[in-house]
């Protein structure tokens, strides 16, 4: 028997943290999981090489929404590098529930979208420029 629907997961689903739109996002990306129709837009405000602001919108199942809510809490304030290095298993730990293979994509959508948003950042700024922006 799964225990996916623990109270805190449902709580994050009902009242997700960081749900909304940034006025002045540095980078943003829309990710989707077409198999279930989930879509998430992840927006980041980068300042001084740090994830100063983060917000997401979208629709999806409890797992994908709770995952986005928890993940955005987690990366807020992180350096861009640390956020980009955030791993799937860390997110799974954060979720604290057993995810079956069929639902893994739901759980990972937020992280994949975050990664894509950060990759867009890389692509627009030259690596040198990014490095220069970062505090030593």
């Amino acid at each position: 028997m799964d225990d996916l629907y623990r109270d805190y997961i449902l709580e994050h689903y009902r009242r997700p943290h960081n749900f909304g739109v940034l006025d002045d996002a540095t980078t943003s990306h829309e990710g989707s999981n077409p198999l279930c129709g989930d879509r998430i837009t992840m927006q980041l405000g980068i300042r001084d090489g740090k994830v100063a602001e983060v917000a997401f919108t979208g629709r999806g199942c409890a797992i994908s929404q709770a995952s986005a809510s928890l993940l955005t809490d987690e990366v807020k304030g992180m350096s861009v590098e640390a956020a980009a290095a955030y791993r799937a298993d860390e997110l799974l730990d954060l979720l604290g529930i057993d995810i079956s293979p069929a639902r893994l994509k739901c759980a990972m959508l937020s992280l994949e979208t975050l990664d894509a948003a950060l990759a867009d950042l890389d692509a627009s700024a030259s690596p040198a420029a990014v490095a220069a922006e970062e505090p030593a």
Binding site: M1, D2, P34, L35, C36, G37, D38, C61, A62, R103
Partner: protein
């Protein structure tokens, strides 16, 4: 196999039970998979539109083939090879009889409906669709009857047009009428919608298409397991379906097409069996249907398909249809009674709807619905059911879907209703 030859006296079949109505509860003994517990509850399998379960006679026919007479077909001059060939070709005849096809050589065995439709798109399509030629589909097609045509018109610079649907999921034939002015070469549509359950008026559409000079392909994947299919009466040109949705093994399916069409079509897959003579730089083709069956076929699966066709014939497809109609009627009443805020999609006229119930609970994602139902051993499908454009049209990200087969019962629907109450309890918490 268990068939009740007399109409049931009890009320569950409704007043006008057909002769030989199904006793689904008794039939369940034929399906070994149903005799198990999932997460401590009896398995309630409500995903037959995705793939049906298989009765013992089918499972046993496949193992008997492997245990007793497994051999390649059309080749061996030895006892088990001749038996394998006879059973394989016998299965073709059974399938032909099942859909009342006039000639069993008009049945090409394929892996599934998808391959059957691709066969037509590659073979007939590439030979007959030219620049600017139109193909008319509908907004409710499964990806299997959409994407092959997208690839074809991309290659040939042809034109795809779509018959729109009404909000309750019926084809808008007055728009179809207008689209026919484009003089399409082909009209391709589903007999029964896998998502909404809509039963389309095949004969009427085929007659309209033919009058406009188009050929007609029907995707029968959701029809053959659930409604009587009579190829002669339908008056179509191509009819594709899957075996695994009609109680037969995975890996079985068929294309029926009119003999003249099959004969005129160039080959699709090439290799052994489909040839008459091969030289280094040219070859001649075998007769139909073998021209379209390159390589070693899925012999065991085809034999299983023949057995499944006979099993359904013995049940009587009228009885199957009547049974599923009752299940739909029951579900359309029982589910809203249990969870009043449920949204159910598709036609509400029971005569126009097969055994498919797509639904949503407000603000609960169908994935979560399905996942929680699984706690109670209930298997429903959640997602877009391979009809993304239809979901877009209906402005739905996804739906949950319960679908029925011969072994489904009102008790399954009661379990679903109870499960949905639990889903709401957990989510509305």
């Amino acid at each position: 196999m268990t068939i009740v030859e007399q109409p049931k006296a009890s009320g569950t079949t409704g007043g006008a039970a057909p002769r030989g109505a199904l006793d689904a509860a008794a039939l369940r003994a034929d399906f070994p998979i149903l005799d198990q517990e999932v997460n401590g509850h009896r398995l309630v399998y409500l995903d037959s539109a995705s793939t049906s379960q298989k009765p013992n006679v089918v499972i046993d026919a496949v193992s008997a083939y492997y245990r007793e007479y497994n051999a390649n077909v059309h080749r061996g001059i030895y006892t088990i090879g001749e038996k394998a060939t006879a059973e394989y070709e016998g299965a073709r005849a059974r399938v032909a009889r099942f859909i009342n096809a006039p000639d069993s050589h008009e049945i090409v065995f394929t892996r599934n409906a998808t391959e059957a439709i691709n066969l037509v798109a590659y073979s007939w399509g590439r030979a007959n669709i030219d620049r600017g030629d139109a193909i008319v589909l509908t907004e409710m097609e499964h990806h299997a009857n959409l994407v092959p045509w997208q690839l074809l018109v991309q290659e040939k610079d042809g034109d795809l047009e779509f018959v729109p649907i009404s909000d309750d999921g019926l084809l808008r034939l007055e728009v179809f009428e207008v689209l026919l002015h484009l003089k399409p070469k082909l009209v391709a549509f589903t007999h029964v919608s896998n998502t909404l359950g809509t039963i389309n008026p095949v004969r009427q559409i085929a007659d309209m298409a033919h009058a406009a000079g188009a050929l007609v392909l029907v995707d029968g994947a959701q029809a053959v397991p659930h409604v009587p299919v009579d190829i002669e009466a339908l008056g179509v040109d191509f009819y594709a379906f899957s075996g695994h949705k009609m109680l037969a093994p995975m890996g079985s399916g068929a294309l029926w097409a009119r003999r003249e069409l099959l004969e005129a079509m160039p080959p699709f897959l090439a290799g052994g069996e489909m040839i008459r003579e091969v030289h280094l730089r040219r070859s001649d083709w075998n007769d139909i249907p073998w021209k379209f069956e390159a390589g070693t076929p899925a012999v065991g699966d085809a034999i299983g398909l023949g057995v499944a066709a006979d099993y359904l014939t013995a049940l009587g497809m009228d009885a199957v249809r009547a049974h599923e109609r009752e299940l739909v009627a029951y579900a359309l009443e029982a589910l809203p009674r249990a969870v009043p805020d449920i949204a159910v999609y598709g036609p509400m006229d029971l005569d126009l709807r097969g055994g498919v119930i797509p639904f949503n609970l407000p603000d609960i994602h169908p994935h979560d619905v399905a996942q929680i139902l699984d706690r109670y051993g209930i298997a429903v499908r959640a997602g877009h059911h391979c009809t993304m454009p239809l979901h877009e049209r209906l402005d739905l990200a996804a739906t949950a879907r319960a679908s029925f087969s011969v072994f489904s019962t009102n008790a399954d629907i009661d379990a679903l209703a109870a499960g949905l109450v639990e889903v709401e309890r957990i989510f509305r918490g």
